[in-house]
Symmetry: C3
């Protein structure tokens, strides 16, 4: 298979490591994730079993709600032969004051991957994942653990790599290849939503990843809805290195103008997210209620930030690819007024489902690349073994 051969030519340093932030991985590693995902999907669609593990656990830790990512993680685990075991922190003894490093080892004696969603608090999610990763690294080196589970970021405060890589796979599939993305304009814009406290990790993940492949990424949001400065820095640097571009504006029209791809999506004002973290730490429920009122009022002043037909008409040939991580706030469907006009969404609906369909294979690719010493060789074994997935 061509994707497996291409994988052979890449120099990777993923085995025994984690997938936490895309900007900590090389271009080769990003490409390898897409290639492995493609190979796994190809095998799946031709009824060849992709079971790599005969036993073992995939542990899921969700500190926030999730449907898509939860099912994508479970699908990926099943594809490779792992059993999902969720760590429900309410049913565990963690309340006793147990340390993270201890819990991390206790759940890992037969564990190949630990998927974590922890996206509610700025400054928290990534550091928790890094702490878990350091703990299992120590446990493995000290002989406590028979294997070193890979920690996979299923959305943190900084990045949402399984989403942004699925998005990248969707872009490559839509435009023909990763190389075909060079010079294409992507508008990552804020959009109005009547909901409160949405994480910043999707736009941060998109601007830091798409700038690496020569895309011209235009970030647009109202004043106050800034992303974390370090992610803007990464986006600028990647754009410079790849020959792409990164622009930053407070004008949705400007971002949409001539765009090949639009990604209109709501997120919370950064200051609101910072204050929320502090108020939660102080258990200040009155303060939290007041902050929520403020946040919703701030959003309400930007109702005009909707991806409507007029704005879509201003994109390249009036037919930009519309992207969303789902669920979208669709005006008149899931809320009175939201991120996207119903007619725009309905036209693009199945394409957004296709966008989402890459996620299970991206996660399975991350598992394969971090847990197998020679992933191309493992994939070739699957091809030769040719066990039918469905008898």
């Amino acid at each position: 298979m061509k994707s497996i051969e291409s994988l052979d030519n890449l120099s990777l340093n993923l085995h025994g490591r984690d997938c936490l932030l895309t900007w900590e991985h090389s271009d080769a590693e990003i490409r390898a994730t897409l290639l492995a995902a493609e190979a796994l999907e190809r095998l799946y669609r031709t009824n060849v079993s992709t079971r790599v593990f005969d036993s073992g656990l995939a542990v899921a830790i969700f500190r926030d709600q999730s449907t898509r990512t939860r099912f994508s993680f479970a699908s990926a685990a099943s594809l490779l032969g792992l059993s999902v075991q969720e760590l429900d922190e309410k049913k565990s003894q963690i309340a006793h004051g147990e340390t993270t490093r201890e819990t991390a080892n206790m759940i890992s004696f037969a564990t190949e991957v630990i998927g974590i969603r922890d996206d509610l608090f700025l400054g928290h999610g990534h550091s928790y994942m890094a702490e878990v990763a350091a703990a299992v690294e120590e446990g493995f080196r000290q002989g406590v653990l028979p294997q070193r589970p890979a920690v996979i970021n299923l959305q943190c405060d900084l990045d949402h790599p399984t989403q942004s890589l699925a998005d990248l796979a969707h872009l490559a599939r839509t435009f023909g290849s990763l190389d075909a993305l060079r010079g294409k304009k992507l508008a990552m814009t804020w959009a109005y939503s009547p909901s409160y406290g949405k994480p910043l990790s999707v736009p941060q993940g998109v601007i830091t990843l798409m700038t690496r492949f020569g895309m011209r990424v235009a970030l647009a949001h109202p004043p106050g809805y800034d992303l974390l400065p370090e992610t803007l820095e990464h986006a600028r640097r990647f754009a410079a290195e790849s020959g792409g571009a990164f622009t930053h504006t407070d004008d949705m029209h400007e971002a949409f103008a001539g765009a090949d791809v639009v990604y209109p999506k709501s997120w919370a004002p950064m200051e609101v997210m910072r204050r929320r973290t502090e108020l939660l730490r102080a258990s200040d429920s009155a303060g939290l209620a007041e902050l929520e009122r403020e946040g919703l009022a701030s959003n309400a002043r930007r109702r005009a930030w909707e991806c409507d037909e007029t704005r879509m008409a201003a994109t390249r040939d009036g037919r930009a690819l519309y992207m969303h991580c789902l669920p979208a706030d669709i005006s008149g469907v899931s809320c009175a007024a939201g991120e996207v006009a119903a007619s725009v969404f309905e036209r693009c609906r199945l394409a957004t489902y296709r966008e989402a369909s890459h996620k299970p294979f991206i996660i399975a690719a991350m598992m394969l690349l971090t847990r197998c010493e020679d992933p191309a060789a493992t994939l070739r074994k699957l091809v030769h073994r040719a066990t039918p997935r469905r008898t």
Copy 2:
């Protein structure tokens, strides 16, 4: 195996479809379900692995409590090699106003079956299942989903096919064959329970299924405890077609008289169920509390509807087969007064467990018939492969 050969001779249209209402399936499809269940149970009991899938998900959606069906579904999934992933609507992002058709696709990228229990509201459960089925059908046809998951009704407002088919398998096993049921009298009767709001789907499922095999089905309940008119229509039509009979009375004695089989079981008055749906929609908690009082008072006036020794004595030779979907409300055991006298239940207890034991294999048969193009060929492959289930 004889059951596999018999399967060969049946003309089926189940592949790529759902199992929602037994009356939408042909007699051949009903027979096929029993034959496939029998074959799977035979393989299981002789330590031959019935694993058809090397990976893949079986999604469970329970909108009401369940023990038996939950474990039967999990057992069936395990028998065929699928991993259960539950969609807990409280832990998902569905509260955001996400549409059913979107959720249905998002949980289905590596999913072979979706089992749903949604039996609390008249007019709701079946339509929800049909909506999920239409959504995955669209997703599959549009290339979003690599496979088309089968939707399996684990109890809705209209029917409870995994229960009624397990009941039918139990009848066929007890009396020798499906054909031996011809002319046998089955009393499906209401019985007193101190509990409120039990669904109508079990009696509806029983009267619409057992009338198809020439049985003489006698439905009995107090005034006001009617079943949905369309299910009575189906029962009448099936009885006419099969040469059986369907009678409808408000006299428990009459139904029990000379019965070969009795199925005494409580359910809520139809009007109470209808009003409950409206009150819930209106979030009228005072109204709901009042309705519950009314419902319990209505039941309390029918305490005499108990399956006691006197009534059992009036059945054929005083030894009718006692059936129940469990758990039964047993007088003096699980409640002060209930559906069945303790002595009657205790005598029949193990038989009711055997009745329940068919459910995992019925569900596995539904999975096999809907997901495999040539189920008899698949079963034969399992026989020839002869992988031990336990090494």
Copy 3:
């Protein structure tokens, strides 16, 4: 493999039985559990698949919080190829007054093992497990169940065999062999904790198991913190039979003096546990709150019972093996003052993780020994089959 050959020479009566209380099993059965665990771990670490079952359920019933044991059970199930299905008593219909014997059968149609944690109430946990075991025994003998699931005690009011056997494996590994434990002194001592209502099953499990292998077990606790008299009886008898010793004191220093192993761990006063059970039965919440105050006050008077550096210095060569079932209450880390000084715990931390690492393999061994007729033959088949666990 040597451990498999040794297994051959043992006369066992575990097939078709349960693992509830170690003192109901012969020395040969205890040794067999350790040997099978060792063999499974060896296969696991050399990438040989230990999958014994091609399908089937491992049911988990947790009536108390758990992290370690929950994941150990899930790991063991995965190692042998079983799917975990949790019985969440809140989501089931058990509230309807369903009997335990009925539920036990309903969850067991494709079930190989049922793991139960029920440790909150003195006089309850073990009897519940025994009731479940009797129910599935009846179901199997009466032909309701195709196989007889083994009930595995994941902690009850009397014993915590998966913990004590993992502890025993850790001791054997640390000192070289089971026989090397002869004459070694183990101090099982109470320790201060600011928490309330910890079960008695860990110390009871330790004193009844370690006395069987010639160890000199010294039990120490403050007055009022007695263990159940029957467990002291077992410990005395085993010590007499094995040539070990069992002493009982209220002086922590005395227990630590010259000890080769120390196991300082908090538990609740027996009288408090007894009264709690009664108050809970009476739903006396005021009484429960008062009892909790008393219990915490009683603990608070014993703050000096800490495993600190001074006490550790009094052990053999000042370097006794420190054991704990985790999570420990570490002074200054997980609480202001607790069971163990931070410096002691930190020095022994990785060793306690190693102690815990045996539990998944101990549980898998219990599953293997209870479910396979000739476990040594099964293990040899795994060796010869040599399926890689990770392709």
